[in-house]
C-alpha cells in the first residue's frame, strides 16, 4: 500500500504491506536479550525523530545481531486505509522493511516512485533514480513475517490482547464472586430476624429497647434477690447436723438472721467452723449459742 495508489474495492479480508511513507525504521545492535526489554526502550530511540503531537506505536523484532525498531502512527494508517476503502477489510498490517530480504528487484509504486532496497533498508525512491528499468510491478511472494500489526490490538501497552483478556476475565470473576458473597451475607440472619419478629408479635411491650431494659432490670433484681434468700436458707439447712437446733430464723429482703442452740461447746465450735467456711462468715459463738446475721 502506498500513498499514491487508487482506492480498492474488496470483499474479503486481506493482509497489507505498508511502504516507508507510513513508518520510521531504526536498526540498532543493543545489549538486550528479550523482546519485551527492546520494546520498552523503543520510544527513547526515536526521541526527536518523530512528530510530538502524534501517538506512535512500535513494532520490534530481531534481525541477526541487530534489533529492528519500526515506529508507526496508527491513527495516520487508519485514516489512510479508510481513504483507500480498506479499513474494514484489513487483516494484519506488515511493513515493507520486514520484507527486506525478499525484495531483490525494485517495485514500481505508481508512475513516479518505486520501492527499493538501499543499503539494507527498504526505501521509496523516485523512479528516475533507478539505474535499470523496473522489471517488477507486483510484490514478490514471500513468507509472512511472524510479527505484524492487528488493527484494534495495537498500542504502546505492556499488555497484549491475550493478557488483557486473561486478567480482565480473572478480575471480573473475582468481582462476581465477591458480589455474590456480599449478597449471600445480606440474605443471612433470616432465622434470627424471623424469631425476633415472632417474639415481637407475641410480646409487643418488648419491642421498645427502653421498655425492654426497664422490664429486664425489674425481673433481674427480683430473680437475684429471691435466689439469694433461697440459697442462704438452703445453705444453712445443709450445714445443720445432729446436736444443732435452730431456735430462730428470720429472712427478709435485706438480711438473714438465725440463732442456733448446740448440744455442747464442741458441737458449737464445729458448727461455727462450718458456718465460717461457707455462706456465713460473720457468725459468732456465745457459749453454746450461735448467732448468724448476714446481709443479702
Amino acid at each position: 500500500m502506498h500513498r499514491e495508489m487508487s482506492p480498492l474495492n474488496l470483499d474479503e479480508r486481506v493482509n497489507i504491506v505498508l511502504t516507508p511513507q507510513y513508518y520510521t525504521v531504526k536498526k540498532e545492535a543493543l545489549p538486550v536479550k528479550y523482546l519485551h526489554q527492546a520494546k520498552r526502550i523503543a520510544p527513547s530511540l526515536f526521541d526527536g525523530f518523530l512528530e510530538v503531537d502524534k501517538v506512535f506505536n512500535y513494532l520490534v523484532y530481531q534481525e541477526g545481531e541487530r534489533w529492528v525498531f519500526i515506529a508507526y502512527c496508527l491513527a495516520d494508517i487508519q485514516v489512510f486505509l479508510a481513504e483507500k476503502g480498506l479499513l474494514a477489510w484489513t487483516g494484519k498490517i506488515f511493513f515493507a522493511e520486514q520484507f527486506v530480504n525478499c525484495l531483490k528487484e525494485p517495485i514500481l509504486l505508481g508512475e513516479k516512485e518505486a520501492l527499493s532496497v538501499v543499503e539494507g533498508e527498504v526505501v521509496v525512491v523516485p523512479k528516475h533514480f533507478l539505474s535499470t528499468e523496473c522489471s517488477l510491478s507486483t510484490f514478490p511472494s514471500c513468507s509472512i513475517p511472524k510479527s505484524g500489526v492487528k488493527l484494534g490490538s495495537t498500542s504502546n501497552d505492556s499488555l497484549s490482547l491475550k493478557q488483557t483478556l486473561f486478567f480482565s476475565t480473572l478480575f471480573f470473576l473475582f468481582a462476581l464472586l465477591f458480589g455474590m458473597e456480599a449478597l449471600r451475607y445480606k440474605q443471612g440472619g433470616t432465622q434470627e430476624r424471623e424469631r425476633l419478629a415472632e417474639l415481637s408479635t407475641e410480646y409487643p411491650r418488648l419491642q421498645s429497647a427502653i421498655q425492654r431494659e426497664s422490664i429486664a432490670q425489674k425481673y433481674q433484681t427480683i430473680d437475684k434477690q429471691e435466689r439469694l434468700k433461697r440459697d442462704a436458707i438452703k445453705h444453712l439447712s445443709e450445714l445443720i447436723f445432729k446436736g444443732v437446733d435452730v431456735t430462730f430464723l428470720r429472712c427478709t429482703t435485706q438480711s438473714i438472721e438465725a440463732q442456733c442452740e448446740c448440744k455442747s461447746t464442741k458441737v458449737a465450735k464445729r458448727f461455727l467452723l462450718l458456718l465460717k467456711n461457707s455462706y456465713f462468715p460473720h457468725a459468732h459463738l456465745n457459749g453454746t449459742t450461735i448467732q448468724i446475721k448476714e446481709n443479702l
Partner: protein, 133 residues
C-alpha cells in the same frame, strides 16, 4: 496522553478496580451484617431472658400453688390472709419435720418472700410467712 494507546491497561485497570470495589463492598456488607446480627442476637437473648424471667416470677398458676399451703396444718394452728397479690400466713405448733417440709415448699414457690420468720416455742415451732407475686 492518548487513552486508546493504553486501552488494554485501561480495560484491565477497570476490571481490577471493579474487583477491588466488589471486595470493599463485600467487606462493608459483611461488617454491616455482623454488627446487625450481633445486635439481633443480643436483642433476642434479652427478650428470651425477659420471657423466661416473666414466666418464672409472674406465674399465672402461682395462686393455685400457694393455696396448697393453706391445707398445711389444722385450721386452729393456721392463720391465713390473702389480699390481692399478697399473702400473710402464720403457722403455730409445728413439729421440726413439718417445718422442714413447709419451708421446702415455700422455697420452691416462685414468689417474692418479704419475710420468713421461724421461732421455737417449747418443742414446737411457729412460722410466719409474708410474700407477694
Amino acid at each position: 496522553m492518548n487513552l486508546r494507546a493504553y486501552q488494554n491497561s485501561a480495560i484491565v485497570l477497570f476490571f481490577a478496580l471493579l474487583m477491588v470495589g466488589a471486595m470493599l463492598f463485600k467487606g462493608m456488607v459483611s461488617k454491616e451484617v455482623r454488627v446487625e446480627r450481633e445486635k439481633m442476637a443480643q436483642e433476642l437473648a434479652q427478650i428470651e431472658q425477659i420471657v423466661q424471667l416473666q414466666h418464672l416470677w409472674r406465674d399465672k398458676s402461682i395462686l393455685k400453688k400457694l393455696k396448697r399451703l393453706e391445707k398445711f396444718g389444722t385450721a386452729s394452728t393456721r392463720k391465713w390472709s390473702l389480699r390481692g397479690k399478697k399473702l400473710v400466713a402464720t403457722y403455730t405448733s409445728l413439729s421440726a419435720k413439718s417445718v422442714n417440709r413447709l419451708i421446702n415448699k415455700i422455697l420452691n414457690l416462685a414468689v417474692q418472700i418479704e419475710r420468713l420468720e421461724l421461732k421455737k416455742e417449747g418443742e414446737m415451732y411457729r412460722l410466719e410467712f409474708v410474700c407477694k407475686w
